[in-house]
Symmetry: C2
């Protein structure tokens, strides 16, 4: 058996995957494609979109408003679905753009549906993954609505840490992060200058360092306390479904 | 056959439901329970939660923060799942409280999973419903992040209109709305005084009237233009899956 894909690693947090489930997941990864920054994978308002499973690299999903505003809704990392909602809705309600060079597997919706029919445990796992995506957006809403800039930034960077660790792309203490302060600003509802100031403050408090494309938690527990961060929406101690 | 439940009406926007799907949905509605305002249906941080399908009344889901803040994430109306995410996560990441007296059917998670195994089309429909819930949270995030108070309030009230119409609880032009200005304020990230001012402004502009528990769109197209509202994330012209 090949090494587990990031998606298989992620779903394994929710459900103990059988060999049948795993080979079904492998089959969903066959049509691998590459994308570069600057070209949207999914484009708001277009119909007949394709869904992808992200295998390598980071992307961001965002909405453009008629008033000219842009809100980054989330970033996706390996193991995440891209554009699943757009396929289910027939029309994309958001844009997805690579942040780094990206490799993603095209998922034909009929393949996904027949996979559900063959392995209903997989359907439940995908429902869990979609609920987890929703929980992240909820946290981003709560962050912009009710957390100050320091708490909000700390929460976001802790969330990345837990997500990346689950798919084997970071440790509890550190991870590679390709995001510019401009991208973080558009996600956090702050200016890039403000993000820069907040990151300096977090470093001076001895909590976190974001330097040369790497986030390091200098005081993990202190950061968790500051951000009131509870990773229960991202990871579990052992699969829920056996 | 009994009259279609609000959930069946909603899912029918996505998938043409067979008689087998419909009777499966009926079976999920057997354990009907009643709840009153002031008592949480789902309580943040608790484990072993139950999921519900809302049959009558309105509830709100919200998060409480350690810093004392509260953010209403969404309101649920008949046909919506309550606490599905909490069941999949083992621990509830939010609270759900009735806004009005409520009737909801308890869904045992094992019943839902075996329903998925028997009718995979239903699993896809539930995944669509979960994606739709996520799309609403995305809109609320974009609203708080990038829309001004007038656009944001108009968008929220148009969204309720489309959701209620889909489950047969309103017309294109009007619906009963039990929300106080305090609840709206906690959802919109505004003060109740500000909400009051925005609603007066919308009325004076001839766009919308919210009076005596009823929202009336006085100029639907004008309101849609103001809010840049596209209902594609809520409803479809005929089911996507036949």
């Amino acid at each position: 058996m090949t090494e587990a894909s990031p998606l298989a690693r992620k779903l394994a947090a929710f459900v103990a995957l059988s060999d049948e489930d795993l080979s079904m997941l492998d089959r969903l990864h066959q049509r691998r494609r590459k994308f570069v920054p600057g070209v949207d994978l999914v484009h708001q308002g277009q119909s007949n979109q394709t869904a992808y499973i992200l295998a390598k690299g980071w992307v961001c999903s965002y909405k453009l408003l008629a008033n000219g505003g842009r809100q980054i809704v989330d970033f996706q990392i390996p193991g995440d679905f891209l554009g699943l909602r757009s396929v289910l809705f027939r029309t994309a309600d958001h844009n997805i753009e690579p942040v780094t060079p990206v490799e993603a597997s095209e998922v034909i919706i009929s393949d996904l549906l027949s996979a559900f029919a063959d392995t209903p445990r997989l359907a439940t796992a995908v429902l869990w993954a979609a609920s987890r995506d929703e929980a992240m957006v909820v946290e981003h809403l709560v962050g912009i609505g009710r957390r100050n800039a320091l708490e909000r930034t700390a929460h976001y960077l802790l969330e990345f840490g837990a997500r990346l660790k689950l798919v084997g792309l970071g440790t509890k203490m550190s991870y590679a992060c390709p995001l510019s302060q401009y991208l973080l600003a558009d996600a956090l509802g702050l200016s890039a200058v403000h993000v820069n100031r907040v990151l300096r403050q977090l470093r001076e408090m001895g909590l976190l360092t974001f330097h040369n494309g790497r986030v390091t938690f200098d005081d993990f527990e202190g950061l968790v306390a500051l951000a009131d961060f509870d990773k229960a929406y991202l990871d579990h101690d052992g699969p829920l479904l056996r």
